[in-house]
């Protein structure tokens, strides 16, 4: 690291510049595969629409309950051709198998255990937050109630996990 970088306050980028820099800070060059595990159709639609407009090419698959998510991840049944996701967005309250059960299975499956899992839930309970981190969720995000707030949070997840973080090789 060069010393010149320390002329500091002058070099803090403003908002437009920040956006421009973000655009060429993208670290994941191949299209990103995302698995969204979510049973609420309105949330699915909102998240898919937001990701569709994102600057980084990505492809999103949706599982509507926990059992379907595990079939997808293990390429079972109708999902034999399913792609291995780079990152999972996981709701907690899900039919059939809940998010904790899905998380546990992922972490106990050798070929899946490294997969980054972002918990995206309406839950606000300290218990759920603790339990998620104890089970090695990568992070916990509470869905805000307001629509604009929700979109903003989805965009922040997108920015961070798709353009800043290095994801493990599939």
């Amino acid at each position: 690291m060069k010393k010149e970088r320390l002329s500091f306050s002058a070099s803090l980028p403003g908002k437009n510049k920040k956006e421009k820099i973000m655009n060429d800070t993208i670290v994941n060059v191949r299209p990103v595969e995302i698995l969204l595990v979510e049973d609420n159709p309105a949330d699915v639609r909102l998240i898919m629409e937001t990701f569709k407009d994102f600057k980084i090419q990505n492809s999103m698959s949706v599982a509507k309950d926990g059992a379907e998510a595990m079939e997808f991840l293990k390429k079972e049944g109708a999902f034999s051709a399913a792609p291995r996701p780079d990152v999972i967005l996981l709701d907690l309250n899900l039919p059939k198998k809940n998010g904790f059960e899905v998380l546990k299975e992922i972490r106990n499956t050798p070929e899946l255990k490294r997969l980054p899992v972002v918990i995206l839930s309406t839950s606000d309970s300290e218990n759920d937050i603790l339990k998620s981190y104890d089970m090695n969720a990568n992070c916990f995000v509470t869905k805000p109630v307001g629509l604009d707030e929700f979109i903003k949070i989805v965009m922040t997840i997108e920015d961070f996990w798709l353009s800043i973080v290095k994801l493990p090789e599939r």
């Binding site: 690291m1 060069k2 010393k3 010149e4 970088r5 320390l6 500091f8 306050s9 070099s11 803090l12 980028p13 510049k17 920040k18 820099i21 973000m22 060429d24 800070t25 670290v27 255990k113 490294r114 980054p116 300290e126 937050i129 603790l130 981190y133 104890d134 090695n136 990568n138 992070c139 916990f140 995000v141 509470t142 949070i153 922040t156 997840i157 920015d159 961070f160 996990w161 353009s163 800043i164 973080v165 290095k166 994801l167 493990p168 090789e169």
Partner: protein, 147 residues
Amino acid sequence: MINPSPSGKLEILLVEDNPGDVRLIVETLKEGRRDYNINIVKDGEEAINYMQRTGNYRQAIRPDIVLLDLKLPKKDGIEVLKVVKTADELKQIPVIVLTSSNAEEDILNAYRNHANCYITKPIDLDKFVVTIQSIEDFWFTIIRKAK
């Protein structure tokens, strides 16, 4: 949204041996949107002592989040991760790996040991600052942390 420490600030533990990087990260966060209490340790052994509150760190405040370099003197970042992520009372603390390494092996190894995410430090100054700001936007703002 975030757990107040005794000071009411978000407690960050920065594990980094490069003074230039330390300065840049601290300055960026100082300009940021919240008040942070940033504690700095310079090697992996100190980091483990700090987290376990042993040695010189009996009074250390439990961090809300850890920024962890990988190449560190004494004990490397992976060893720190192993200790933190296998201790029942520490594993809930998010650990962000922030390293100059771009090696696939390091990325896999970090996730395997339950790093919460892996970020490569950009060499370019502006990009470095934007990266730190993104960590701030994401981890220090919208992420829920366990108390």
